[in-house]
């Protein structure tokens, strides 16, 4: 218990980095996922193929590889540099990798949602003369989003937990690294582990609870 109190400030700082990563990546992944799903249902075979290719590659690659690649590959080898300050640079590289990865899952979730929108809705939209983008934006996506709020919540919870893998992208400030660093000093400490687990639950459980409530409130009645 003493260890937990002694290292609490460092652990909290690390955990807040996870929260920061999650907020930014969550927003970017939702945007990317929406763009990807639009491509995957587009009337153009080229776009559909490109979207499918991206999703199949990214979601079947381990996140550890994605993040290590964005740091060692894209930044060190290819020269993609976000900032001259090293820790800021690796922060944004992790954001890039984690958003690219989570975006693929958001896309698949949304596509499953689109599949639940009844045929008649799209036919009716076409019948009143809406174009593809209009029917997507006004009719299909709003309903799709509402059916997939709870699954999207699961994707977001998984992403919050995945933010600990940032260590593989060379971002050495978040809680997994801080915990390992502390264990190197003190040996294994059960209170520290439990403390961090509770911190993560404090964030993930409300996300699950809120998305479930929202899902039942906004459910499309059919």
């Amino acid at each position: 218990m003493d260890d937990l109190i002694k290292y609490a400030p460092a652990l909290l700082a690390g955990f807040l980095e996870n929260v920061k990563l999650s907020l930014i990546c969550g927003a970017l992944a939702l945007v990317l996922g929406t763009i990807l799903v639009s491509a995957r249902v587009a009337p153009t075979p080229v776009l559909r193929a490109a979207g499918t290719l991206y999703v199949n590659i990214v979601r079947n690659t381990p996140l550890t590889l994605v993040l290590a690649f964005s740091s060692l590959g894209l930044s060190d080898t290819i020269g993609l540099i976000f900032s001259d300050t090293p820790s800021t640079n690796s922060f944004w590289l992790v954001v890039l990798g984690l958003s690219a990865y989570t975006g693929a899952f958001v896309c698949e979730t949304l596509r499953a949602g689109i599949n639940t929108v009844p045929l008649g809705q799209a036919e009716a939209a076409r019948a009143i003369g809406l174009t593809f983008l209009q029917s997507l934006r006004l009719i299909i996506l709003p309903q799709a989003f509402r059916t997939v709020i709870a699954p999207l919540g699961s994707v977001m919870i998984a992403m919050i937990k995945n933010s600990t893998v940032a260590i593989a992208g060379g971002y050495l400030m978040e809680s997994a690294f801080v915990m390992k660093d502390t264990f190197d000093d003190t040996g294994v400490s059960i209170p520290i582990f439990i403390g961090l687990v509770i911190a993560f639950m404090v964030v993930t459980m409300p996300v699950g609870f809120l998305t479930n409530r929202l899902a039942s409130r906004l459910a499309v009645v059919r």
Binding site: L72, S75, D76, I81, T85, P86, S87, N89, S90, L172
Partner: protein, 286 residues
């Protein structure tokens, strides 16, 4: 009712079985020296990604540290052949691996320092290295170690080399204001140097020589060593028995010329590196 009990008992038994099946352990010896004498087997930690010192080639690593390890371990086993399991021990893992018994003994460009002595018992040193600086060969802005002020240098996880630049003595040396770039290993440092994500990699000349030899013409070493790094043999804290035996083996290694031979084998081509002539002063086992 009985059926329910059976179900519950089965559930508990299956859980226990699945947990033990996924666990396991093996018998323990009081010291690594004893394990070597009696069982002729050992888990040796080396670097796996440092050319010249410890580089995984095929089923086992090769390099200077690896050859020293093979000699010392054989001596400890009384000249018998030893069943060695090689385990990668990156700088960031070394203390934890020794404390946890993940490895028995470490030969991994492991500098003896006062702060590490609190957690690790060191045999040796078996060789002295000297910290130097490596830059891209087209970089003319850095020609001596003090030019590193304000530059981006590499901080490999678990390694102390950066402190010699950024901190004053006793732990450090130059006390310059340099920017630190984190990396997991020195091979990551070198790839970051190549990719312009840092300006200099500064660490022991033996480590740098291996990397420079791998990519001829890409990097240059300044050749101005400014510290003595005592490479020790890492042992679990308190294992003085093994430590004494290791020191005896290292002494013998210098006397019969094996050390000079191994050094020349791995670093004979490197500029400015000379094979050691006498046994370094041992630190003493505590």
């Amino acid at each position: 009712m009985r059926a329910r009990r059976v179900w519950a008992a089965l559930a508990v038994a299956a859980t226990a079985a699945s947990l033990t099946a996924c666990g396991g352990g093996d018998e323990s010896y009081s010291s690594v020296a004893e394990k070597l004498e009696k069982a002729h087997k050992v888990v040796v930690g080396t670097k796996w990604d440092q050319p010249g010192l410890g580089l995984k080639k095929g089923s086992e690593p090769e390099g200077f540290d690896v050859d020293v390890a093979k000699y010392v371990v054989k001596e400890l086993a009384g000249g018998k052949d030893v069943d060695i399991t090689w385990k990668e021990s990156a700088s960031s893992n070394r203390e934890a691996f020794l404390a946890n018994g993940t490895v028995d003994i470490i030969f991994a460009s492991y500098s003896i320092t006062e702060s590490r002595k609190e957690k690790v018992t060191f045999g040796g040193p078996y060789v002295l290295a000297h910290q130097d600086v490596m830059v891209r060969s087209d970089d003319s802005a850095i020609s001596k170690p003090t030019d590193l002020a304000g530059k981006r240098i590499c901080q490999a996880a678990g390694s102390n080399s950066y402190k010699r630049i950024t901190d004053p003595p006793p732990d450090g040396e130059l006390n310059l204001d340099a920017q630190l770039v984190g990396a997991a290993t020195y091979s990551e440092c070198v790839s970051k140097l190549g990719g312009n994500n840092l300006d200099a990699v500064t660490t022991d000349d033996l480590i740098l020589a291996g990397f420079a030899g791998q990519a001829p013409g890409k990097f240059k070493i300044l050749g101005q060593p400014f510290t003595d790094e005592k490479y020790g043999v890492g042992l679990k804290k308190g294992d003085t028995k093994t430590c004494e035996a290791v020191n005896a083996a290292i002494g013998k290694m210098y006397q019969d010329g094996t050390m000079q031979q191994i050094f020349t084998k791995w670093f004979g081509q490197a500029q400015g590196l000379k094979a050691p002539t006498g046994v370094p002063t041992f630190e003493g086992c505590s």
